[in-house]
């Protein structure tokens, strides 16, 4: 068997130079050695692949029509063997993706890994962050239940407030003046065709740029120490990555088992007793819009467009503003403070949105 495999390997190698390819992929030296802190990017790739696999499976039964989306999703949950599991995995996988994106971005930020010569990796990474959020936003309309309908209604109204292009953007996404079949069709095609294509392209570019610029390595240690600890991507880092992926896989499976997806009532323009609320990772933005300070047309623009827009612009400008080569987070007080403030801010807003629920019931 081994001899046969070797023959196949040699056959391929002779034609496409497999050995060089293998060396380029696996024998990348990691300054200062493999680390658990470096697993987040690989985990994201793993989660995405699993989302693609479960997503394709769901499409075997899902019908993207306002008349049948809800029923076909119920069919997946109640009739199709393990349908509940595949759907719940996809659902929890999306949350895992958002958590992992935050972890990955935080690691890169705290390690100062966005600095020269890795600015382009950081910029493409921000694009990928946007795509992940767009995946979440377009994905949860698809079951066409009350949560889906209202999150989309409000989300698109928020986009409508973007200056100049807002009206066009909102109508473009809704495929009309109000949410309906065209909205579902558009969100569906964006979710299953456009975003996966964009994500694969940008993630490929992200990896290519990462390999071209090289990993940043730890922020402490003399060149001699770093050299002494250097090892290749394979096997130690790959081993750490796969252990982390297994942990992520088990976590998602457990969540899918304990808390499988339950649909609310079918979507309709009367919320009934349902208190509309977006997915947890948009709650902080949702809560921000409740503030009296952001009332009225202008306040809404500030909370929904200006603040998130300025924040993203600031992140994009970060490697160009912060040009000091210092990477040690303990010697970058402003960076550490800003990160802490943003994280606490998001946490407080999210928790207060959850606490607000009780006052509504």
């Amino acid at each position: 068997m081994n001899a046969l495999l070797q023959k196949v390997y040699d056959f391929v190698d002779e034609r496409i130079d497999l050995k060089t390819l293998e060396a380029k992929m696996m024998k990348e030296p990691i300054k200062g050695g493999s680390r658990w802190a470096y697993v987040f990017g690989s985990c994201l790739l793993f989660i995405f692949i699993m989302q693609a696999v479960t997503g394709v499976l769901l499409m075997f039964y899902y019908i993207p029509s306002a008349d049948h989306a809800y029923a076909s999703t119920q069919f997946i949950i109640h009739e199709v063997d393990y349908g509940w599991f595949i759907l719940s995995y996809h659902f929890w996988g999306s949350s895992a993706m958002v958590v992992m994106v935050f972890a990955h971005m935080s690691q890169v930020f705290l390690w100062g890994a966005y600095k020269t010569p890795r600015e382009m990796i950081w910029l493409i990474g921000l694009g990928l962050f946007g795509i992940v959020m767009a995946f979440g936003f377009t994905g949860y309309l698809l079951p066409w239940d009350q949560r889906a309908y209202w999150a989309t209604t409000v989300g698109v109204e928020i986009m409508d407030k973007t200056p100049v292009v807002g009206d066009f953007l909102a109508r473009f996404l809704k495929g009309g003046p109000t949410p309906g079949q065209m909205t579902l069709s558009r969100f569906f095609v964006i979710h299953v065709m456009i975003l996966p294509g964009a994500l694969m392209g940008l993630a490929g570019l992200h990896l290519f740029l990462f390999r071209s610029a090289g990993p940043a390595g730890p922020f402490r240690g003399t060149p001699e120490e770093l050299k002494a600890k250097t090892d290749f991507f394979f096997p130690r880092q790959v081993w750490k990555d796969i252990v982390a992926m297994a942990a992520v896989f088990l976590t998602i499976c457990t969540l899918a088992l304990i808390e499988p997806v339950v649909l609310l009532e079918e979507a309709k323009p009367d919320p009934g007793d349902y208190h509309p609320e977006p997915e947890w990772y948009f709650l902080f933005l949702f809560q921000l819009l409740r503030w009296k300070a952001f009332s009225g047309e202008f306040g809404q623009f500030v909370a929904a467009t200006a603040i998130p827009g300025a924040f993203m612009l600031l992140l994009a400008a970060l490697p160009f503003i912060d040009r000091s080569p210092e990477r040690n987070i303990f010697k970058r007080p402003i960076a550490l403070l800003s990160w802490t403030v943003v994280m606490i801010g998001i946490l407080v807003l999210t928790v207060s949105a959850i606490l607000n629920r009780e006052f509504l019931d």
Partner: protein, 311 residues
């Protein structure tokens, strides 16, 4: 014949003694074999054909010719060659084991003297644009098709006033609205709120006089007279489009409250608290002698101070 593998810096010996060393190796891009070695001798670099090589040893190469014959070979014109790093020739570096920077391949004559390189580059861009540009408008129109639907000015029956038992109390009317949604014939549960207003509330609602509703051309579709006590509010919250409720508030008593972003309105639709930019939207209403309520299901853009009709 197995391909010869001369090395850079190998000594080169002719029939009549050592004459210099190899500085480059030239490969044939088709056969992927060494075609020439470039020998530095007496300050010149000569292209010696592979056929003149007698033997390749570890650190030397022996030639079949004399030093004077070598001096007769053409001098290397560096500009006629590229290094193997600068071109993409698959398998070349596997076949000829020379550092990529020292391994030369001929610069194809057609490429070297491509006087119209700029012309070709421009041509490629123009043709690309000629393919792409004509698609822009049709694709844009294709995608925009459903975006701007005409206003729907149908009167819809939503219920009967007998449901309203008290004045200045919000009463929800849920009704089925059937409509064509692309190719689907759909029916949706919609909801609006109707109040039977006291004269004071009416005064608040109609503080700028009767309310006129117009179509896209600006022509009047309907006028709500302030003498009619029944007022219909669109079920869509003017803040960001959620569905609000009539419910009791700890300090404000009975109010319209939107659970999304906590906007609060009184029975006249006036904003009491929360982020809403304008009062609740009044709809055209007709009440028949039998008490049947009909409305036009107008929808305004949420989040705006002024009324922008979208449906």
């Amino acid at each position: 014949m197995a391909s010869v593998q001369p090395k850079i810096k190998s000594k080169v010996r002719c029939l009549d003694g050592e004459i210099g060393e190899i500085v480059h190796v030239i490969a044939d891009p088709i056969s992927l074999e060494v075609s020439h070695i470039v020998v530095r001798a007496n300050g010149t670099q000569r292209q010696v054909p592979a056929s003149a090589i007698a033997a390749v040893r570890d650190d030397s190469v022996e030639l079949l010719c004399t030093a004077s014959q070598v001096a007769g070979y053409p001098e290397l014109k560096r500009e006629d060659f590229l290094t193997s790093k600068e071109v993409e020739i698959p398998h070349l570096e596997n076949k000829v084991h020379i550092e990529p920077g020292e391994l030369l391949v001929p610069f194809p004559p057609l490429e070297k003297s491509c006087a119209r390189r700029n012309f070709f580059a421009g041509f490629i861009h123009v043709i690309g644009a000629l393919i792409g540009l004509p698609l822009v408008w049709p694709v844009l129109r294709f995608i925009m098709k459903p975006m701007y639907a005409p206003y729907d000015n149908r009167w819809l029956k939503i219920g009967n006033v007998s449901k309203i038992k008290a004045e200045d109390v919000g009463v929800q009317f849920i009704f089925k609205k059937s409509f064509k949604d692309s190719v689907l014939e759909r029916e949706e549960d919609k909801n609006h709120w109707v109040i039977k207003a006291t004269p004071e509330t009416l005064k608040k609602i109609y503080k700028s006089g009767d309310i006129t509703f117009t179509d896209e051309k600006g022509e009047v579709v309907w006028v709500n007279k302030q003498t009619v006590p029944y007022v219909a509010f669109s079920g869509k919250c003017p803040h960001l489009g959620c569905g609000y409720k009539w419910r009791s508030h700890k300090t404000r008593g009975q109010v319209f409250l939107c659970p999304c972003h906590l906007s609060i309105y009184d029975s006249a639709g006036t904003v009491l608290d929360g982020p809403a930019p304008r009062p609740l939207d009044v709809l055209p209403i007709k009440v028949s002698v039998t008490g049947d309520i009909e409305v036009i299901d107008i929808e305004y853009k949420a989040g705006k101070k002024e009324l922008v009709r979208i449906l």
